[in-house]
Each structure stands twice: as structure tokens, then as C-alpha cells.
Amino acid sequence: MYFSRETLKQSAESRKKWEEEVSNALSQWQDQKERWSTVSDLEIQRIYGPEELQNMDFARDIGCPGEYPFLRGNQITGYRGRYWTFRMFAGMGTARDTNRRWKLLLKQGQTGLSTAFDFPTLMGYDTGNPRALGECGKCGVAIDTLEDFMQLVDGIPLDRITTSMTINPPATVLWAMYCAAADLNGVPLKKIGGTIQNDMLKEFIAQKTFMCPPEPSVKLISDTIEFGTQYVPKWNTISISGYHIREAGSTAVQELAFTLRDGIEYVEDVVRRKGLDVDAFAPRLSFFFNSHIDFFEEICKMRAARRMWAKIMRERFKAKDPRSWWMRFHTQTAGCSLTAQQPYNNVVRTAIEALAAVLGGTQSLHTNSLDEVWCLPTEHAVEIALRTQQVIAEETGVASTIDPLGGSYFVESLTNEMEAQAWEYIEKIDAMGGMIAAIEKGFPQMEIADAAYRFQQQLESGEKVMVGVNRYVTDEGDEIPTLDIDDNIEKEQVERLNGIKRKRDDKAVKRHLNELRRACKKGDNVMPHCIEAVKSLATLQEICDVYREVYGEYTDPAIY
């Protein structure tokens, strides 16, 4: 029991009296609305007290930071020893443009790099492919060959700076380029650190950049996990991502549940397919969450996520190493919470969301720039966003003590409630036969579509408020400077690619692609062949075409 009988008795008495007074007060002063709920529609009570927590068990449910179930954080000293990693998502235009932005961010105090790729790269097409026309460099950097990649990491100390790469279907190829770049720069693979997102299940559920069907997509992920475990021990070979699930319109509970269930699916696949001991690879699994605008809901989601993953790893997978029980995660503030109207308000939203992520105990953070609802961030906007994190870390004092909201009646109750609701989803998906089966049924996709539509209707009816969108609306828009990617870079990138194709040894390319094809057909690990192929200057698409040929292509089932 979390509270003594005496405390609970006193609380019950005073609460009864208070409730009578509330009902008197309500006859005079009505509540502004009948139902109070979080941004993702979890109902919120007027107050929370010891009664809500009477079944809590301190050792089982809470504990101290750095100890099971890690509700209060993985690190025993919290942010005192080290702040979270300041890792801004950056990538635009050419590799050279992006390299320049990276260096600017490092100079401004960023502590880790993060790469945004353009859509052709994300989908495994070369620049200039008819399917990719108009997209070059628009949403991120265009990478076709190892030469582009070498330019991207030019002057970056690969043994000291960790780099996150938001890449999914062609994750093996981009990671192979990173490994090859390290090799060419004389940095041993065991010294490089970073993250590839490499989470395909959430692509089928939410983000929709896919290439091959779910089953072989998960096989490729298991290949990277196996390869990383053997040769690149400091690399996070997956970042199991709820961020995009939330951006697609899920509730916070759905984000929590589907992300963790995806994680379960990956662990099962590696254990079954590769025969690896769970403790050999679990410590390198990492996660990625969204920090939306409902302050407490987000804090509780992150606390619940850590506790749930610890239970999953220890109880479901019988992991023995405490590092396997840790859920390590990056957070990004919610892109979908930003508004095109009155864009300066986005600075405020991002600051609150970043604060929630810090109070939720994130280990790495990206803060969105105020203009990201319109374009990739300008230098000025991204600097404000980075400074937002620095102000939170260095000025506000929230990093002085670990999990400062722990023990709050409301925070602990909401954490418990979100966890309970997430377990219900996980059990439902277990009963369907796992996440791939659930995706094939369209279950998570439909749950998210329902939630997104419900929220949109709540906005239209005014039940939910977005400032500047459906309340406090002004006629005059604030003009903000935006970043435009020149359409002409497409032509230049195609010329560059053609130049590389002319000078490379085509026979070597063909040989390595054939070896990769053979590995795919036999079910062998593709990574060593991928590294050789990129070194021979095989293009991203040439490698991905091998996957498409052997594994087949996935097309959007167009669920709405």
C-alpha cells in the first residue's frame, strides 16, 4: 500500500466534505465544460488524491532512478551528470548544404547530429527516377551514392559525434554507407556510434514510406541488429518509433501501445530468426516518442513507457542484464501541434512540449522550429529551437532533481491509467497473432484513422481548442521568412550521379549486387554485401531494386 490507513482515512473524510462543497459551488459557478479530457481524449478528474494510488506498491511500481522498473529514469544520476543529447533533425538539398547546416548547429551547441533524407532516398529511388521527379532535396538531403555520403560527413569526427539517421526501407544501405565512410576515414566500426531509425512496422502503420512487404522488411531489420551486435557494438540499430504514429493522428495511448508492441515483434524476430540471446542485443534497442501539447499526458506516457518496457524485457523475454530492461529514447516535439496561423506561437508550444519531454526523462531531444509547418527550418528558426532546449537545461532548474513530478497524485494516476490502457491494446494485438497480422488486418491503421478523424471533428466543433486556428483567430497572417529548396538542384544531382556512374567499375558493381541478391535469396545477412556494394559505388536504388526483385513490393492498401 502506497499510503498508510490513517492517511487514506483522513483523505476520504476531507474529500467527502470537499465534494459536497464542490456541488454547492457548481450550482453557482458552472464548469466551463461538462467533460474535461486530454488532447487525446483521456478523461480527467477534477482532482486526484491518495485514494487513486492506494494500490500502488513503491518497490514494484516506482522505485528509484536507475532501478527496476525505471519509472523514474534509467540513469542513476539523471541529468546531473549529463543533459539529454541536443539533437536537431537537419537535412536539405544536397549533401554539401546539409553538411554546412550540421556544422552550424554543432557550433551553436548541438551535441549530436540527426539526418533528414529526401523522399526519393527514403523510398529507395535514385534522383532522376521518374517516380522521384520534383522531390529532390525537398524534405531532406538527397543521397544516391557513397560519394554523396562522404560529402555529407565531411569534416565530422565519426569517432566522437553520434549521428542519427531517419531512414527506414533502405536503412541497410545508408548504414552501409556510414560504415564504409568510417572505414575510408580510418575509424574502426567498433568506435562509431549513432542510430538508424530502421523501424518498418510503424511505416506500415503510419508513416507510409515502404518498399517491401512487412515480413522481409522485418528480416532486414534483424540483419542489422545481428550485424551491429557482432561488429558495431555502439550503434543503435533501431529506433522503435511512436513519433510518426502520433503524427498520423493516434492518441497518446495508441502511440505507447503500438510502439511497444512493434518492439516486441522485433525482439521476437531476432530471437527466432537469428538465435541471439536477448541480452546480446536488447541494450542497443532504442525508442523515439512524440511530445505533444498536453503537458501531463506526455510526461506520464514517457514514464509509463519506461516501466512497461522494463516489464516486457524482464518478464516476457526473460532478459537478465539490467541494461536490457532500459528503454532509452529520443523525443521530438509534435510537428502536428504546430500551426501555420500565427506561427510565432509555435515557439511557445515547442517550449512546453520540450519541457514535458525533459520531465518525462528523455535522453535525447529535437525541438521543432517555428516555421516547420511551412518548410524546412531557416537558420534563424532552428537556432531559436535549439536555444529553447538550452534555456530549459541551463536556466529553469528542471534538471536539478530527477523526476521532479514523481509521487504527484495526478501524475502517478495518469501514468498508471495510460499503462493499463496500453496493455489492453497489446493483449488485443497478441491475440491477433502479433503486429504483422494486426497490420494485415488494418487494425492499428483504422484505430489511428478513427482517432485522427475524432480529433478533427472536436476541432471543428470547438470542443478542442487550437489557438489561432479555431479561437483567437486573426485576419492578418504573420509573414515569416521561409526556406525554399531550389528546383534546379535536381538537375545538378542527376548530372553528378551520371558522372559517378561513368567513372565507376560497372563489373565490380554488378558482382556485388549479384552477391547481395544471392544473400537475399538464401536468407543470409545482407549487411556485408551491402557495404561492399556501396563501396563499389552501386547506387541506393540499384541496391533497393535487388530487395524489390527478391522480396516483392508493398503498395498502400489505402485505408481510411
Binding site: 526519393p120 520534383g134 503498395t555 498502400d556 481510411y560
Partner: protein
């Protein structure tokens, strides 16, 4: 014989996977009593134009958030014209900066709905500007 309802194709051209708006709009059009076909993500302009003609739709609603609308939207209109679908109204939505609006208008995109456009206002526009062919 009952009157045919307005047929709408909601389409995602290009490689952009941000389909939240397209899916919400598909439901909204359906709830407003229109017939709706949603293409799903990653459609080429060619696929969209042929499907729109084949399905004999009255309106194509294009959604793009990747910044590739400057190429993709006009290309769909061009292909519709080439293939005899010039009586199909084309509208667009997504992350479209103000400075691109004139260019899209000149290319034959009848209306562009940017962030913050209410579902009601889009349905209203369709009722006022599109009729069954």
C-alpha cells in the same frame, strides 16, 4: 432514376507519405454524401490521371506535403487534359506556400486549401463549384 452523387478522387501524388489530411478528408467527403475513391500514397501523376478518367470522377483532390507540388499538381492537370479528362476539376491541399498559389492557379488547379482550412469550408467549396458531369 436517382441522381448520381458527386464522385471525388482523393489522391496522394509523389512519394510523400503524410496522408493524415487525405484520409480525414476522404472520410469527411464520404460523410458529406459524396462518392469517394482514395488512391493511397505514392501515386504517379500518370496513375492518378488514368484512374480519375477510368473512374469517371467529377473532382480530383490532390494532397502533398513534401514540397513537390510545383511539379506534381500541374503534371496531373496536364495529363488529364491530354487524355480527355479536361472536364474534371482539380484542387490541391497540403503545405503550399503562398508564393506558389498563383503558379498553381495558372496551371489549372481550381482551388488550394492550406493548413487551417476547415473541413466544412472544403465541402462547401465542392458543393458550390462542382456538379455531376
Amino acid at each position: 432514376m436517382t441522381e448520381r452523387r458527386i464522385r471525388i478522387m482523393v489522391a496522394k501524388p509523389g512519394l510523400d507519405g503524410h496522408d493524415r489530411g487525405a484520409r480525414i478528408l476522404s472520410r469527411c467527403f464520404r460523410d458529406a454524401g459524396f462518392e469517394v475513391i482514395y488512391t493511397g500514397c505514392h501515386q504517379t501523376p500518370e496513375q492518378i490521371a488514368s484512374a480519375a478518367i477510368q473512374e469517371d470522377v467529377d473532382l480530383v483532390g490532390l494532397s502533398c506535403l513534401s514540397g513537390a507540388h510545383r511539379y506534381l499538381f500541374p503534371r496531373v492537370v496536364e495529363l488529364l487534359r491530354e487524355r480527355g479528362g479536361d472536364d474534371i476539376t482539380v484542387i490541391g491541399g497540403g503545405i503550399i506556400p503562398d508564393q506558389d498559389l498563383q503558379m498553381l492557379h495558372d496551371a489549372g488547379i481550381k482551388a488550394v486549401f492550406t493548413p487551417g482550412a476547415s473541413l466544412d469550408s472544403i465541402v462547401q467549396w465542392v458543393r458550390e463549384n462542382v456538379s455531376v458531369k
